[in-house]
């Protein structure tokens, strides 16, 4: 899902080998990425990487992709090792942030020499992790600072709304409240902290502001450039596991650029932790389980080899593999997740597909077959089939049909619509409960086209049905419209009559009042004492509302009551 750009040169520098574009296309698959696009810019080749796995933020940057490929090619194997030394930095976390944004975890990375490309990747990773994994910064927000401009210890504290600092992108000081109102990022992310008594603030021992998580960094410390050698990383959020994982992803990516990771002591009111914690995680799988579901004859050794190429440390014991996997991953819940890694290392395209031999017999749904038979019949009348949308709106379904919402027109339509709370557009804000408006909509869009226009649709009308699991039912309906000069009720009835004879049903048409139709030229269709539909000439005021300047006659009926289970 996350997509980002990487330079071929940068990737090759990180992997330590050059490849052709075609080779890269295949190599990307090891990192669960698809190479979406290739282009040249200023003499450099760039790739658009589309990472498939929303649970693998470690693969969302050039560093992560290169690392996985280096392992897959066997340049390195087993668990990646990162040295972590303690720094003497301490961060104190304010108790009052408990209901505002409780967790912050930190690290220092030293000895960096980032060029423009590396800098771009760092910013990209930070953004993508916060956006996708961090749910638009709600669960994870990341700040990276020039460590040399910061004087520890550092405080993650509750800031008063009147405190001020110069945010990135501004030249003058703003109060925290003003940042939410005026700053572009404040407007975008302000809802995450708005209406709390305090706003989160990260400051150093001299009271200098580093950032206002999760909104914006300060202008002085919050800008990292190619000159920056040492950085301070801050990750805040609501779930300690999540922020720890994001921190691990960021610091190990920076370590791939030659940075040295230094841990930081974080003091909470009731406990203390040292972050980042890169202790590997463990898991255990049965080798037979892997073999059976893979459908491949793999020896224990081969499985071990494949897993080592996916950055696992593997110990084989009693038909089991005891695994250690890197602390920048948190997606292994089940042996299946390990199985997929084995298959990716093996290469999906190296596996011979095999069609399962199953003694089964196919069969279609009988009601669908009935609908198909009705459609065939309608085509036989020379009608053009149309397929229209179920999504519509109240205005089209009632107002334009001369109907009153809340009144039941003997179920054609019923009194109420199934409506959507969060539609993309008011035009598509309900599911239709009858089809006639859809067909009039169709006619209204084809007034320039040659008449006669004779149409039908077999489609769904969605009705309220409180007793059902979804409190709704989508009934199959047949709707016919005939638009042509001199068309009358009789033309529609001729078709209806023929349909009924062909389906072998007796029916009656009984005069009713229905404001969508011309009085005296409208009836309900009754089968076995039950009203199944409506037939008539569309009222000229309805035609006027739809902008149709041609008489229209038609009918609409429920198909289910006309269905009888066939023997075959």
């Amino acid at each position: 899902m996350p997509k980002f750009d990487v330079s071929k040169r940068d990737l090759e520098r990180l992997v330590g080998k050059e490849f052709t574009v075609e080779e890269w296309e295949d190599l990307f698959l090891y990192a669960k990425c698809e190479l979406d696009d290739v282009w040249e810019e200023n003499g450099e080749i760039y790739f658009k990487a589309d990472s498939k796995d929303t649970n693998r933020p470690d693969l969302w940057s050039a560093e992560g992709i290169a690392r996985q490929i280096r392992w897959a090619l066997g340049f390195q194997r087993g668990l990646p090792k990162y040295e972590v030394e303690k720094s003497d930095v301490t961060v104190y976390v304010d108790e009052r942030l408990k209901d505002i944004r409780p967790y912050g975890v930190y690290a220092v990375v030293e000895g960096l020499k980032l060029d423009e490309e590396a800098l771009k990747q760092m910013i990209n990773l930070q953004e993508k992790v916060a956006l996708t994994f961090g749910r638009r910064r709600r669960e994870v927000a990341i700040g990276i600072f020039d460590f040399d401009k910061v004087k520890p210890p550092i405080y993650y504290r509750a800031g008063k709304k009147t405190e001020r600092f110069v945010p990135l992108g501004f030249e003058e000081e703003l109060t925290l409240e003003e940042i939410l109102e005026k700053h572009e990022k404040g407007k975008e992310y302000g809802h995450l902290i708005k209406d709390r008594p305090y706003y989160p603030l990260l400051v150093d021992s001299e009271g200098k502001v580093l950032s206002m998580p999760p909104i914006i960094n300060s202008k002085t410390t919050g800008r990292v450039t190619t000159e920056t050698r040492n950085v301070f990383v801050d990750v805040t959020g609501w779930d300690l596991n999540k922020v720890m994982l994001a921190l691990n992803v960021v610091v190990t990516a920076l370590a791939e650029r030659g940075g040295k990771i230094r841990s930081v002591k974080v003091v909470y009111p009731d406990f203390e932790i040292e972050t980042p914690d890169l202790t590997p995680k463990s898991f255990e799988v049965e080798l037979d389980y892997i073999r059976k579901l893979a459908g491949l004859e793999l020896s224990d050794g081969e499985i071990k080899d494949l897993l080592e190429r996916m950055m696992y440390d593997v110990t084989l014991e009693d038909g089991k593999a005891k695994l250690l996997y890197p602390a920048f991953r948190d997606d292994i819940m089940h042996a299946r997740d390990v199985l997929e890694d084995v298959l990716i290392a093996y290469g999906y395209n190296e596996i011979e597909p095999e069609e399962p031999k199953l003694a089964v017999q196919g069969r279609g749904d009988k009601f669908v077959e009935f609908e198909d038979a009705v459609r065939e019949l309608m085509v036989g009348f020379g009608l053009q089939e149309v397929m229209t949308f179920n999504l519509t709106n109240r205005e089209a379904q009632y107002d334009r049909m001369n109907l009153e919402y809340g009144r039941d027109y003997f179920n054609n339509p019923p009194a109420e619509l199934v409506e959507i709370e969060n539609p993309i557009s008011p035009k598509w804000s309900a599911l239709r409960n009858w089809l006639l408006p859809s067909l009039l909509d169709f006619l209204s869009q084809n007034t320039h086209e040659e008449y006669p226009q004779r149409l039908f649709e077999v489609g769904k009308a969605t009705l309220i049905d409180e007793g059902r699991e979804t409190k709704t039912v989508s009934e199959s309906k047949l709707t016919v419209v005939l638009a042509q000069p001199r068309v009358t009720f009789t033309d529609a009835k001729e078709i209806l009559d023929s349909v009924m004879r062909h389906l072998d049903f007796e029916y009656e048409v009984e005069e009713v009042e229905h404001p969508s139709f011309i009085p005296g030229r409208v009836g309900r269709i009754i089968v076995n004492g039950q009203t199944i539909g409506v037939i008539g000439e569309i009222h000229p005021s309805v035609l006027e509302k739809w902008g149709i300047e041609m008489p229209v006659a038609g009918f609409e009926l429920f198909l289910r009551p006309l269905y009888t289970e066939p023997y075959l």
Binding site: M333, D365, R468
Partner: protein, 499 residues
């Protein structure tokens, strides 16, 4: 020799007249002009008659020319006034000339030497000359008179008086080509004509002709079988729906059982929770998932099933550690228009399945997207699953490949790792279409055990979905996805048959 009715009639008439103007021949036969021309050309091809055509260039008056013939040329009208008054101002000439005639008049009178021009108090004064007093009929006046009398005059004759160019320049006359046609019978024609038997010609064979046996005495007018005909439109199935029908039939032939459901509305339980998709999953965000305003919530299925799903989410099932959060039944009860056909897989698995078994469904599904040439607000999805004791990843690839061959006509396929919340491992397939190149054609995976176990299935279930929109668009020859649900009757009427 075979002659058409028209040819026969024309030949007979021509035999009496020998040589005749075409227009007269038309009158004689009583046929349409085109029919007689067709007959004459036919007779000529058979060397029974000869068509003589003579073209001549002629001149005739324009509308302006006709006016001048009536009221006189502008220079004459001006001169008459001058003769009356001796001298006039330019303004005085308005009495006899129109605005556009006024402009060139000074030049004209001067050229003819009929008037002298001088300025007096800043005004142009025209004074008649000797020549103007004596002036008589010029060649151009004669030409105008001739044209007014005869209507059309051969160019040759006009040129004796005045160059046609001059008449054209003054917009008096225009040139035209006049064709005169004469038809003459040949000796062969004369020989044949008496032997020609003329029968009544009919254009339509009527039931009366058949009943009375009179059909024996008539000739059937020959049809121009190459003539274009009116476009007519049959009743036919919507092309995209016909395409879906075809895939449905193919899937049934391949051994799949069709699944259906009673509503387009789904509970989040079946759309997400039963598929092991955690309640805080990004796909379940407000922006990515529709919710209903009315009715808001539905019901959950039986407690035991709900309990197993809840456990799978909270603590894990089948050796999984689960998602580790508190699962909310209220959230699961929320209603939405169904977002994917996979929801039906979950329903079917919970209801019970044949093992081994193959299932499919064609479902209308909904996503909060805008409607444009690459996005639909609702669309059809084809997906399903295969369940069996011994199924493995190679089978998954085998099923996908079969789809590519059967449905996309692909010769080559390519598999890519992919991610779905409810399958692991997961695959995306690209199929090599002979004309489209590599097309992303479908996705598949083995349903996660956390999901299948919760639904009461303890054998592997391969889930698949095929992306048919690009194929359908190719098949239907469209590059705007909205045409799948076309509201364009012209396009539907013209669309090629899908079979």
């Amino acid at each position: 020799m075979e002659l058409s009715y028209g040819e026969k009639l024309t030949l007979i008439k021509l035999n009496g007249l020998k040589k005749v103007k075409f227009e007269e021949l038309v009158k004689e036969t009583g046929l349409e002009q085109v029919a007689v021309m067709r007959a004459v050309l036919g007779l000529q091809a058979k060397e029974l008659a000869k068509l003589h055509e003579r073209s001549e260039k002629v001149v005739k008056l324009t509308e302006t020319g006709k006016k001048y013939a009536e009221i006189g040329l502008p220079e004459w009208r001006a001169l008459r006034l001058l003769r009356e008054r001796g001298k006039v101002t330019l303004d005085d000439l308005r009495e006899v000339l129109s605005d556009d005639e006024l402009k060139p008049i000074v030049g004209l009178l001067r050229k003819e030497g009929w008037a002298n021009v001088r300025k007096e108090d800043g005004k142009l004064i025209l004074e008649i000359t000797e020549k103007g007093l004596k002036a008589g009929e010029r060649p151009i006046d004669k030409a105008l008179k001739l044209l007014a009398e005869k209507g059309v005059v051969p160019v040759k004759e006009i040129e004796k008086l005045v160059p046609v160019k001059e008449l054209k320049r003054r917009k008096i006359g225009e040139e035209e080509t006049l064709t005169e046609r004469e038809v003459e019978i040949t000796p062969e024609g004369e020989k044949l004509a008496p032997k020609v038997e003329l029968k009544r010609e009919v254009s339509v064979l009527t039931p009366e002709l058949i009943k009375s046996g009179k059909w024996r005495e008539v000739e059937f007018r020959k049809f121009d079988i190459k003539a274009p005909v009116r476009r007519i439109y049959p009743g036919k199935k919507q092309p995209y729906r016909a395409f879906l029908d075809k895939i449905r039939r193919r899937l049934i032939e391949m051994g799949f059982i069709e699944m259906t459901v009673d509503s387009l509305i789904e509970t989040q339980f079946w759309n997400f929770d039963a598929l092991f998709q955690p309640q805080n999953h990004p796909a379940r965000e407000w922006t990515d998932t529709y919710q209903l305003k009315y009715p808001k919530s539905g019901f959950l299925p039986e407690d035991e099933l709900v309990e197993r799903v809840k456990t799978a989410h909270e603590r894990g099932l089948a050796g999984s550690r689960g998602w580790g959060y508190v699962w909310s039944p209220e959230r699961a009860m929320l209603l939405m228009p169904r977002a994917h056909g996979t929801a039906l897989d979950a329903r079917q698995l919970a209801k019970g399945v044949e093992i081994p078994g193959k299932y499919f469904t064609i479902q209308r599904v909904f996503r909060p997207d805008v409607l444009d040439r690459t996005h639909l607000i609702e669309f059809n999805q084809i997906d399903g699953f295969v369940v069996g004791e011994e199924l493995n990843f190679r089978h998954l690839l085998g099923i996908l490949k079969r789809f590519a061959v059967e449905i996309a006509g692909a010769k080559k396929v390519k598999f890519l790792p992919d991610y779905y919340p409810f399958t692991e491992p997961s695959v995306q397939m690209s199929a090599y279409h002979p004309e489209l190149g590599w097309v992303e054609f479908g996705g598949a995976g083995i349903f996660r055990e956390e999901m299948t176990r919760a639904l009461g299935i303890d054998v592997p279930v391969i889930a698949w979905g095929i992306g048919i929109d690009r194929l359908a668009m190719f098949k239907l020859g469209i590059d705007d996805i909205r045409y799948l649900f076309s509201y364009d009757l012209r396009w539907l009427r013209e669309a090629k048959l899908v079979w």
